[in-house]
């Protein structure tokens, strides 16, 4: 049942704890929003999911595979910016996604293979509304179009989970709304398991099936870095306001707000 399993993960840099005792079980197809104040470890957690970093303790498994030691094809990712290759045209960005997975030293498709990949790329571009800019470079696109391309490119790699790090953070409110719709459609089409870090609570609750709140449950006013953050709330957005029950077994007290 559990597709992504996070077991008792701790992460610290130079013995400074960032994340503490994170355990999480996510079924396939769930959309998990990760929210929290800045500096509370939500981006660190995403880096752990991406396997860009290894946790100091604990492990993360996807579909019961052994923990990854570096970013691999199981994990698609879209960042706030620089998520597409600026030196390739829109279409080449999608073709490259296939080429990276399917070629060796040459790193390029030729002949019929390239034509087939180009056709698939054009079909995808048509679907995500970028057909008319297939030959443009990403710099010529609007922020929303660029992020649509980044998401389409990540999905072209056929990952098992999709990681989004503030994907709409740099967009204006209108574009952001249409991107929500876009992401919703993508999700309905693919049934992808998605983790999205956002600082926008509303966005997190709107898109997620589940919202994780990262915060520091223990807070030493004399030494703010003494303790790491953990998941302090775990909401099921389909049952408004109801926390995922297993979290409540520990009494979580938010000392910070009483300070």
């Amino acid at each position: 049942m559990s597709f992504v399993r996070v077991e008792d993960v701790y992460q610290s840099y130079d013995r400074r704890p960032i994340l503490e005792r994170i355990s999480l079980s996510v079924p396939e197809g769930q959309f998990v929003s990760i929210v929290g104040a800045s500096g509370c470890g939500k981006s660190t957690f995403l880096r752990l999911l991406l396997a860009q970093e290894q946790p100091t303790e604990g492990e993360i498994r996807i579909a019961d595979a052994s923990p990854a030691r570096e970013p691999d094809r199981d994990r698609g990712v879209v960042f706030q910016q620089y998520s597409v290759f600026s030196h390739m045209t829109v279409r080449d960005n999608l073709i490259a996604a296939e080429e990276f997975a399917g070629t060796g030293l040459g790193a390029r498709f030729w002949g019929s293979r390239r034509r087939a990949a180009a056709q698939r790329a054009d079909a995808v571009l048509e679907r995500v509304g970028l057909g008319h800019v297939a030959h443009a470079f990403p710099a010529a696109l609007s922020g929303g179009m660029r992020q649509r391309l980044a998401i389409a490119q990540a999905l072209a790699g056929k990952p098992r989970i999709l990681l989004l790090d503030e994907p709409f953070g740099a967009l204006d409110p209108g574009t952001r709304l249409s991107m929500h719709e876009f992401l919703g459609d993508i999700r309905d089409d693919t049934g992808m398991t998605i983790f999205m870090v956002t600082h926008d609570l509303e966005e997190g609750f709107k898109l997620g099936d589940r919202v994780l709140v990262f915060d520091k449950p223990r807070w030493d006013p004399d030494d703010p870095d003494a303790y790491g953050a953990t998941i302090t709330y775990d909401f099921d957005t389909r049952m408004p306001g109801a926390p995922f029950p297993h979290l409540l077994k520990k009494d979580v007290t938010d000392v910070r707000h009483s300070a």
Partner: protein, 271 residues
């Protein structure tokens, strides 16, 4: 209005840009006049008309001994040396820049060494080059290459490190190998930077070229000016210096044009 906010109109800007050039020419003409009034055969500041005439002769009349026009022969020899030296340096700089910028192991092994090498004054090793490679072409090309390669390696490895981490991570999640990331992400991302770095290194490259030619050569722009220096032939030296300046400008302009045309995505990046 504050001086920092006063901007010249385009036409005025052009006039302003011309003033120093015109002033220099006038200063020369006046100085030349004064000296020739005292000594009509003055060699130090020959008359402008004399310089122009001599420049025309250099560019058109074949040399009596070799039957070739000296200016073109010297230009060809110098540009070949410059091209080979800078080309070699660019290739090495790009290769090592990619390795050092992309592979932490290569960085650990090479970065301190390159940093040390770059502190060696290239002209100080010129005697070694002459001893090892003889007085032929190799030592001159080698001096240029040795002179600018450390800079190119350091600059390009830095540029590779500046490629957004996001792009490298994205490529990894799409299944790209280290080699694929090097050739299809890092290389095209730094190629425009390579042209910029080469443009910057051309100044030192000319310096090393002329220094090497001055010491041991039988042709070349630097050889010629240092040869005729013995006869105080300012009427040859001045056109040669102007010609070298023009060549440097033309090369720089061409590289910039090539970069703009070939790397449209960078130009659009700035919009």
């Amino acid at each position: 209005m504050r001086m920092i906010n006063r901007r010249p109109e385009r036409s005025i800007a052009i006039v302003l840009a011309m003033i120093p050039f015109v002033a220099m020419l006038i200063a020369y003409a006046v100085g030349s006049d004064v000296r020739r009034a005292a000594n009509p055969a003055d060699k130090l500041l020959p008359a402008p008309s004399h310089v122009v005439e001599s420049a025309g002769r250099l560019a058109t009349e074949p040399d009596k001994r070799s039957g070739e026009v000296l200016l073109w022969r010297d230009t060809r020899a110098s540009l070949v040396r410059l091209g080979l030296g800078v080309g070699l340096a660019a290739a090495i700089g790009l290769g090592f820049g990619l390795l050092i910028g992309l592979l932490p192991i290569a960085r650990a092994a090479l970065a301190p060494f390159i940093a040390t090498l770059s502190l060696i004054p290239p002209l100080a090793v010129l005697p070694i080059l002459f001893i090892v490679f003889g007085l032929g072409e190799v030592s001159k090309v080698a001096l240029i290459a040795i002179g600018v390669t450390p800079f190119l390696i350091r600059d390009l490895s830095q540029r590779v490190l500046e490629i957004p981490q996001e792009m490298i991570l994205k490529a990894q999640t799409l299944g790209a190998s280290s080699w694929q990331i090097m050739t299809r992400v890092a290389l095209p991302q730094v190629l425009p930077r390579l042209i910029q770095a080469v443009r910057l290194s051309l100044g030192p490259a000319w310096l090393f070229l002329i220094a090497a030619e001055a010491i041991a050569a039988t042709e070349g722009l630097g050889y010629r000016i240092f040869l005729v220096r013995r006869y105080l032939a300012m009427d040859v030296i001045l056109p040669y210096v102007a010609w070298i300046t023009f060549l440097a400008f033309a090369i720089d302009w061409t590289l910039r044009a090539v970069s703009r045309k070939a790397f449209r995505w960078v130009e659009e990046d700035r919009l």
